[in-house]
């Protein structure tokens, strides 16, 4: 892995800037972030495959796998806490979302698969992870709720349009050069288990 770098980035993100990122780099985002979970992705893919538009144009923006706790104060939505959900559930939808929207960055946790990595390489997108469970910290990085769509899917699954400031630390896990940090981590873990840990414990 190359030497880790730290970046402060602002939306809209340019393809050139995103293609500079390497796995292991740390990023903080300021600007607009849009949330979608499984059911949101399902609906997005249905709309896109019919040639329809999403409520918000995701081009050069950031898509976030998150289900916040929100409340309404004086008729205005407020994020109580927010954090990433496990991204592997979105793997079936993500390549199409990347291809058809031009979204530049995805935030989640737990990692994504080879199809998403291929879409990231082809269209110039990165997948990053935010430390799961750090939801109160992250709420302090959300400035306001700009809008919300698809509330019929339920509050956690709705599409929340958020203005964020220095959202992070985000680690680049899939870059746009076809590399996946977690593939390397798994590969190294397997070697350690088979060639170091098991022999030491006398396990075959």
């Amino acid at each position: 892995m190359s030497v880790m770098a730290e970046y402060m980035m602002r939306t809209p993100l340019s393809e050139d800037d995103v293609r500079k990122l390497n796995i292991g780099d740390i990023v903080y985002i300021t600007g607009i972030v849009v949330t979608m979970r499984d059911t949101g992705h399902k609906r997005a893919v249905e709309l896109l495959s019919r040639g329809e538009k999403l409520p918000v144009d995701l081009k050069d923006l950031v898509l976030y796998h998150a289900g916040p706790i929100v409340r309404k104060v004086n008729d205005k939505w407020e994020v109580v806490v927010i954090g990433p959900t496990t991204s592997t559930r979105m793997e079936v939808y993500e390549p199409e979302v990347i291809e058809k929207t031009g979204v530049r960055m995805i935030i989640g946790k737990g990692g994504m698969g080879p199809k998403t990595a291929e879409a990231c390489r082809r269209y110039g997108t990165v997948y990053t992870v935010y430390p799961g469970g750090a939801a109160a910290l992250q709420a302090s990085q959300v400035k306001r709720v700009i809008d919300v769509y698809w509330l019929d899917l339920g509050v956690p699954d709705a599409m929340w349009i958020l203005e964020v400031e220095n959202l992070g630390p985000l680690t680049v896990v899939i870059d746009s050069k076809g590399r996946n940090l977690y593939d390397k981590i798994y590969e190294e873990a397997r070697k350690r288990i088979d060639y170091e840990i098991y022999p030491k414990l006398g396990i075959k």
Partner: protein, 299 residues
């Protein structure tokens, strides 16, 4: 029992849930701080810092530590002289509804067949309550555990043949942690149950999550196994959220029941780093004491 007393007990259980959701137990926080001091992988370190900062913000602003406030599980130990046992089931259930509104908790219970979410964290067998009865006491201890969804993805159990022995158990646990990878929000707490049936092993594994970090099993052989597993898991190198590094697990807890001649069952339950639990003791006069979080006790 007077309605006043019942109302007060209800309030104290709502408080217990709020404490669990917003104030990480000190043993878990201390373990995160220790992990930060030994870790030298820069990404893992920056994530640990975010997690420790988050714990402080959640506590001071009384916000949930994680947006997934989990499934609400109660473990209740009741003395046979405790006067309000029959009221507890209803109080626990109503407290979950109240806490969902007030903390707030995320509404997480979905009916398996209708798909309906009642919005208040109740449902069939929800909240989950496990009872234990003890002789000679006039108190009841109530522990609440908020079990997040991500770390449940990889809970598992299997019956090994006895010839596989403890080595078979070790291998099963390490493979479970390997398959889990970064999904359960490491650094994780791994709890292992061993026994004659998968259901007994799983029950012991689940209950092991209540044991504070750093406390070893009273049987020295089991304590040694816990240390060995902890060292092995931390040699895997997943690190905090899969960033790589020295700390993949904060602790490993093992408990066991005597086995059957034909079976050696093993169960693995994993908790995310945000191990949210809180305990209180209810006295016969209705007074309560927060055991895991004594600073919330009045006067």
């Amino acid at each position: 029992m007077s309605e006043v007393l019942e109302g007060r007990l209800l309030e104290s259980v709502v408080r217990l849930i709020e404490i669990a959701a917003t104030d990480l137990p000190s043993d878990v926080e201390d373990a995160l701080v220790r992990a930060f001091s030994v870790e030298d992988n820069p990404s893992a370190k920056s994530f640990l810092k975010a997690m420790i900062d988050n714990v402080g913000i959640a506590r001071s602003k009384r916000l949930p530590i994680c947006q997934d406030t989990g499934i609400v599980m109660f473990y209740v130990t009741v003395g046979d002289k405790f006067p309000y046992t029959s009221l507890l089931p209803s109080i626990l259930s109503r407290a979950v509804v109240e806490a969902t509104r007030r903390v707030p908790l995320r509404p997480n219970t979905i009916d398996v067949f209708s798909g309906r979410n009642p919005g208040d964290n109740t449902g069939r067998y929800m909240p989950w309550v496990e009872w234990e009865f003890v002789e000679g006491l006039d108190t009841a201890d109530v522990t609440v555990l908020l079990k997040g969804g991500g770390s449940e993805i990889i809970g598992r159990a299997k019956t090994l043949i006895p010839a596989e022995g403890i080595k078979g158990v070790i291998k099963y646990v390490i493979e479970a942690v390997y398959d889990a990878g970064p999904q359960p929000c490491p650094p994780i707490i791994v709890s292992v149950g061993i026994g004659p049936t998968v259901s007994i092993a799983m029950k012991l594994a689940s209950k092991g999550l209540l044991r504070p970090i750093g406390i070893r099993h009273s049987n020295p052989d089991v304590a040694k196994l816990e240390e060995m597993l902890l060292e092995a898991i931390n040699s895997i190198g997943f690190g905090v959220h899969g960033m790589g590094g020295k700390v993949t697990a904060l602790d490993v807890h093992v408990d066991y029941a005597a086995r059957h001649p034909a079976s050696l069952s093993v169960a693995v339950v994993i908790n995310c780093w945000a191990a949210r639990r809180a305990s209180m003791r209810i006295y016969p006069d209705g007074r309560v004491e927060y055991i895991t979080h004594p600073k919330y006790n009045m006067g």
